[in-house]
């Protein structure tokens, strides 16, 4: 989802999600469901030769929550997920999923987890229906395969077409449909939005919300913040193999400081004023440039004080612009990565 297109819809979706998640948590309070975390990693590490892909990761995902695992490409998200699914073996530490050891009890995990892996391929000679039937047989689940296909938007004609003829988005939908087979207790999805167009992403988010309401824990990774912030109760941010932040969106804002920028257009900038601005409690910095005074505030109340301070010094404030820190700046700050926005988010193919 690219910022700019359908901004109003975007905002609506945000409120919609946020609202439902509150409800979801109330319906499934952690204390009545299960005290055991859905996912727990203890100092989980993975080295490939000299490269540390995941470094000492300790993370806990509670039962019933929707957790977004965020970070740029190569941050170690997929490696972590691969270790949870026993695709890759840790070089240090351990992990449990639904209370089962990821290495010793992987099959027990996979009986109760729905997985949408990253970088997968389907069986090109088998139809969508055959794929769902295979997942059902493997999981010992019943039901009409078409229901799953319809749920992920592959009902009708695509159901009986070979997956080899599917677009990338349709393959992603089919794999998601396979993940939903057998009413999993936990959904683990690695970059679920890849290959999907904005409609596809919204539909997937809708299903994730339905699953979460049913009590399913959802753990998914993304390098695109928009996709995570809209559906998640909590977010963990990975960078260069380390978990650099974890918490709700609000908590992350607070932790990073939730800086606001105050941009004042002024007739004249006395240097003394610039130098003394940071003395005000809640102002962390000030710079002047071409008749503009840029003040960074860590507290909202500091903004008014800063303006008063400038005017007291005899400077006339011509215009005021306030810019709260954008979530993208937050992400960029956490990962030390400038451009994070919707990178690589252009849908490769439009879903038929």
């Amino acid at each position: 989802m690219r910022r700019g297109d359908g901004h109003t819809e975007h905002e609506t979706a945000y409120r919609f999600w946020a609202g439902n998640y509150d409800a979801g948590i109330n319906i499934h309070p952690l204390d009545t469901a299960n005290d055991m975390p859905a996912i727990e990693t203890n100092s989980l590490s993975k080295r490939f030769g000299d490269v540390v892909a995941v470094d000492d990761l300790s993370l806990q995902i509670d039962d019933g929550e929707v957790f977004g695992f965020l970070g740029p490409n190569g941050a170690g998200k997929s490696t972590t997920i691969n270790m949870l699914l026993d695709f890759a073996r840790p070089t240090g530490g351990s992990a449990t999923v639904l209370g089962y050891d990821t290495q010793k009890e992987s099959q027990k995990i996979r009986k109760r987890v729905g997985v949408l892996p990253e970088g997968f391929d389907l069986y090109e000679r088998l139809s969508g229906r055959k794929h769902i039937e295979f997942a059902q047989r493997a999981k010992g689940a019943n039901g009409d395969p078409v229901e799953y296909l319809e749920r992920v938007g592959l009902g009708g004609d695509p159901a009986d077409r070979n997956a080899g003829d599917y677009s990338k988005g349709m393959k992603q939908r089919l794999a998601f449909g396979m993940a939903l087979v057998g009413e999993p207790d936990l959904l683990i999805m690695d970059e679920p939005s890849s290959g999907l167009d904005p409609t596809g992403i919204r539909e997937m988010q809708e299903i994730v919300r339905e699953e979460a309401e049913r009590g399913t824990t959802v753990f998914f990774s993304s390098h695109i913040l928009d996709h995570v912030e809209e559906v998640c109760d909590r977010i963990g941010v990975m960078n260069e193999g380390e978990l650099v932040a974890v918490g709700t969106l609000d908590e992350l804002h607070a932790r990073i400081g939730g800086d606001a920028h105050l941009e004042l257009s002024v007739d004249d900038v006395p240097e003394r004023t610039v130098d003394t601005l940071p003395d005000i409690a809640g102002v962390s910095g000030a710079t002047a440039c071409n008749g503009t005074l840029d003040v960074t505030c860590t507290e909202s109340a500091a903004k008014a004080k800063a303006i008063n301070h400038v005017e007291d010094a005899g400077t006339t404030v011509l215009d005021i612009q306030v810019e709260d820190q954008d979530i993208d700046d937050l992400f960029a700050e956490l990962t030390g990565n400038g451009s994070t926005h919707a990178e690589g988010d252009t849908p490769e193919e439009v879903v038929a």
Binding site: S78, L85, A88, L116, E118, R125, L126, A135, A138, M178
Partner: protein
């Protein structure tokens, strides 16, 4: 137990691929060609010879086809990423390897049985008489031969991480068993005894039982032994014969060929066990590597 689930899916996938049909087509085509030629040039032939004559095309096609059918079984899914779909579901890696082995063995078995069914019908149509028992015996031996090579191929497929290595493995296997096994056995014999093995045709000395057993570890040789045992005809293995090798025992009874008593491991049933071992052991070894592989 998810083995049948994996095997079934694999077989369904193979049925829709060129794999099964090309192998069946090739075998059937050769049978039609051979029977047609016999009918055209000879007019007729004894039914038991008509059965035994098929041992040659079977040995030409089945090992090669089985290797091709099997070598991408697991490594192909690793390269494409579909193994992640498979292993996201409850099947374990063990189930995947076993299921793949059975699925691919099913492909080979279907092709071989279809070919023999065609031979049966064609024999009746062209010559009016068929040695059913002989054909059946050869079919059993050929199934075992196909399974042996499928096992070797799936074993490589499980053990390695790239298509190239799997291919190198099966091509090497093919060359060794059809071309150079004799040289290996002759070399080992020379190393152990200080001399090259005695020639058997014409016989210029008896041979140690262990050397003959070593020779029969080659699935091609084992096929010759099993097929000859199940038929009234002598079936010769399709391998390159080197003067320094242990040469094939012809129609002479083993008692006249080996030194001392004929041990159990030179009986015909033991060669069937050898073929089954080739079906199972390489896959087990391949699994040991696959078990700990990172599937990134």
């Amino acid at each position: 137990m998810s083995v049948p689930t994996v095997a079934r899916k694999d077989f369904e996938d193979a049925v829709r691929s060129q794999m099964l049909w090309s192998m069946t087509g090739l075998l059937v085509g050769l049978i039609v060609l051979i029977y047609g030629a016999v009918r055209y040039f000879e007019g007729s032939a004894p039914p038991d010879e008509l059965a035994a004559i098929l041992a040659l095309p079977m040995q030409v096609i089945v090992p090669l086809a089985a290797l091709i059918v099997g070598y991408m079984a697991i490594v192909g899914e690793r390269r494409s990423g579909s193994i992640k779909i498979l292993l996201s579901l409850p099947p374990t890696r063990e189930d995947v390897v076993a299921g793949k082995l059975l699925g691919r063995a099913g492909v080979v078995a279907t092709a071989v049985l279809a070919a023999f069914a065609v031979a049966l019908v064609l024999g009746l149509v062209l010559f009016g008489e068929v040695a059913v028992g002989e054909l059946f015996g050869l079919a059993i031996a050929t199934l075992l031969l196909g399974f042996a090579f499928v096992g070797i191929a799936v074993g490589f497929s499980a053990a390695v991480a790239s298509r190239g290595r799997a291919m190198a493995g099966v091509v090497g296997t093919y060359l060794v068993f059809l071309g150079f096994w004799d040289v290996f056995v002759g070399g080992i014999y020379r190393f152990a005894t200080g001399a090259f093995p005695p020639g058997i045709i014409p016989m210029d000395g008896r041979i140690e039982p262990w050397a003959l057993a070593l020779q029969r570890l080659n699935p091609m040789e084992a096929y010759g032994v099993v097929a000859s045992g199940l038929m009234d005809q002598q079936v010769f293995p399709l391998t390159l014969q080197f003067p320094i090798g242990v040469n094939v025992v012809g129609n002479e009874p083993l008692e006249d060929v080996v030194i001392g008593e004929v041990p159990f491991y030179l009986s015909e049933w033991f060669s069937a066990v050898v073929l089954l071992a080739w079906f199972v052991v390489p896959v087990a070894l391949g699994y040991l590597r696959f078990r700990n592989a990172d599937l990134g």
